[in-house]
């Protein structure tokens, strides 16, 4: 779905007019990025992306039956601007969804997640709880409007390993001029305990002028998530299943 073509190109010489234009655009974006409090959102209507706050509150209530998520590091997120949060993911763990729901509660802001399909009835249902299409322009548009967006890395079944991070979506964050945060998720397939730990913003190891910046930043985000996963360790079920290697517990 997403284009693999790099989208961030910073030419070395820019004229004054384009700089001024970019500054105006950024200022305008900042003004338009009014922060909506999750608890203040009106039920019975949808927002600009089709997210239904009333339904989200219901789903959050239901999600507590499945997950008891501990959120850490959320104080690192910008209070008003948009941010892209990249989490590790594992098959059927629904990490971006439970992370978005838990983070919404923690920071009292609408949080969206990337990866809804565009087929009824699942696609429209996920859109109502904050799902975005897996498309760089969709992500960039939400980020530029000051939204918090969670995307998952590709699935990786190995413990403490992170799959490929889609550089095109990371490029959307660069185009929108927002920070990219690594976040480690950990959940238990047979228990409710889950965790979301957000790290400090990832930075590309080198300053690049072309599409390499998004590629290198995507790789750096994956490394940062692996580091966070190592720091938070594995979840324990308290059963003999913990003794088995590669049990699928922890990591996502």
């Amino acid at each position: 779905m997403t284009s693999t073509l790099g989208r961030v190109v910073n030419f070395p010489v820019r004229n004054t007019a384009s700089r001024a234009g970019a500054a105006v655009s950024r200022a305008a974006a900042d003004v338009s990025a009014s922060v909506v409090r999750f608890t203040d959102e009106q039920a019975g209507v949808v927002d600009d992306w089709g997210r239904d706050a009333g339904l989200v509150r219901t789903v959050i209530g239901l999600s507590h039956l499945r997950w008891d998520v501990t959120v850490g590091g959320d104080q690192r997120l910008p209070s008003r601007k948009g941010a892209l949060i990249v989490v590790n993911a594992r098959t059927l763990a629904l990490a971006p969804i439970y992370a978005a729901l838990a983070l919404s509660e923690a920071v009292d802001r609408p949080v969206r997640f990337v990866g809804r399909p565009d087929v009824a009835p699942v696609g429209p249902l996920l859109r109502r709880i904050g799902g975005l299409l897996d498309h760089p322009d969709e992500v960039a548009g939400a980020l530029a409007a000051g939204q918090l967006v969670i995307m998952g890395a590709a699935h990786n079944e190995r413990l403490r390993k992170v799959g490929r991070v889609d550089h095109a979506l990371v490029g959307g964050a660069l185009a929108a001029g927002v920070q990219v945060f690594p976040a480690a998720t950990s959940s238990n397939p047979i228990g409710r305990a889950a965790r979301l730990e957000i790290g400090t913003p990832s930075r590309s190891p080198r300053r690049r002028r072309g599409p390499l910046s998004e590629l290198e930043l995507a790789d750096q985000v994956a490394r940062d998530i692996e580091l966070l996963l190592s720091e938070i360790g594995d979840l324990r079920t308290g059963t003999p299943i913990d003794w088995l290697p590669l049990t699928g517990v922890g990591g996502a």
């Binding site: 305008a28 019975g44 600009d48 089709g50 565009d118 087929v119 009824a120 696609g123 322009d137 530029a144």
Partner: protein, 325 residues
């Protein structure tokens, strides 16, 4: 750029939107002479605007009128939304005739500096995988007759602009609603029963007619040279709209829609394909550049416009005081 005493020509000045635009332009200090053209007379009194009642198929009269006026700025809002004032086929023909004649005539005018055309967010299309909130840079891929019509208008205007070296701005409006605006979406939502898609019930956004008119006037004043989405903040679904208007929501799936569209047509609210598409696939657009490009934001949000839609009075039939027949 000094704009004092500009000659402004408004096509489609007989429609509600065109009349409102002309009314706003009359109050603009940079506007000198003002002239307009349409097949129908303006909806309310205009003080400075010289109106020419010419049908879109009277090609020679249109060219002669526009060429004699020799405008600096052309505002082209002479478009017919399907099932608004004309059936889809007639609307497409009228829109094509008007666009070709008026934009073609404007290209012959030596004083022409700027063209503003009315377009629509239907231009982005709603194919599977299409962006939820396309910005102005999203690809043009219309999937409805109305979307293809506005895409053709933008294409024609851009070609004229390139050929004669003038700037062209396209104002891509969300579905326009207003107390007197003939809108197929507005009519459908005001029916006693409002159909909605059980499987999707997607969100759509609208714009009130006065906000749309303000945006077009701002585009003319500022010399907008690119497309801009003009969409009210927020969104609403058909089910939510029906509930807010205390209408009966009618859940539909699959073939039920064929029956519903036929019945709605019989009841006086035909459902053209772009409205059907909005009810199945949604219709949103990113309005983030509106303030930057036009210097204004809509005064009314989508939910507000829908609430007002249900408060606008219906047609009131007043019997004659003296029965003469």
């Amino acid at each position: 750029m000094v704009m004092g005493g500009k000659r402004v020509f408004v096509s489609g000045v007989g429609g509600e939107l065109g009349t409102t635009i002309a009314g706003l332009l009359e109050d603009e200090p940079w506007v000198g002479e003002l002239s307009g053209i349409d097949a129908d007379p303006p909806r309310h009194r205009l003080h400075r605007t010289v109106f020419h009642r010419i049908h879109p198929d009277e090609h020679d009269r249109i060219v002669d009128t526009v060429a004699r006026f020799n405008p600096h700025v052309l505002v082209h809002v002479g478009v017919w939304e399907p099932d608004a004032r004309a059936a889809p086929r007639a609307a497409a023909i009228l829109t094509d005739q008007a666009a070709t004649s008026i934009l073609g005539a404007a290209a012959e005018c030596s004083a022409l500096e700027h063209v503003v055309v009315r377009s629509g967010i239907e231009i982005y299309g709603r194919a599977r995988g299409a962006l939820t909130r396309p910005s102005e840079s999203a690809p043009i891929a219309p999937t409805s007759d109305w979307g293809r019509t506005v895409a053709a208008i933008e294409h024609t205007a851009a070609r004229v602009g390139e050929r004669v070296g003038v700037t062209v701005g396209a104002v891509r409006l969300a579905p326009v609603l207003g107390p007197h605006v003939p809108s197929p979406l507005g009519r459908l939502l005001r029916q006693p029963g409002v159909p909605f898609s059980v499987l999707a019930d997607p969100p759509f956004a609208v714009i009130e007619d006065r906000d749309a008119a303000r945006a077009i006037v701002a585009a003319a004043r500022l010399g907008l040279a690119e497309p801009v989405n003009v969409v009210a903040a927020g969104a609403i679904t058909a089910l939510q709209a029906a509930r807010r208007g205390r209408r009966i929501p009618i859940p539909l799936v699959g073939p039920d829609w064929r029956v519903a569209r036929a019945l709605s047509h019989l009841l006086g609210a035909p459902v053209p394909d772009h409205v059907s598409e909005a009810l199945h696939r949604g219709r949103l657009a990113d309005n983030g550049r509106m303030r930057e490009l036009l210097g204004i934001v809509p005064e009314h949000g989508t939910v507000d416009v829908i609430d007002r839609l249900y408060h606008w009075p219906s047609i009131i039939h007043q019997p004659a005081r003296v029965q003469v027949a």
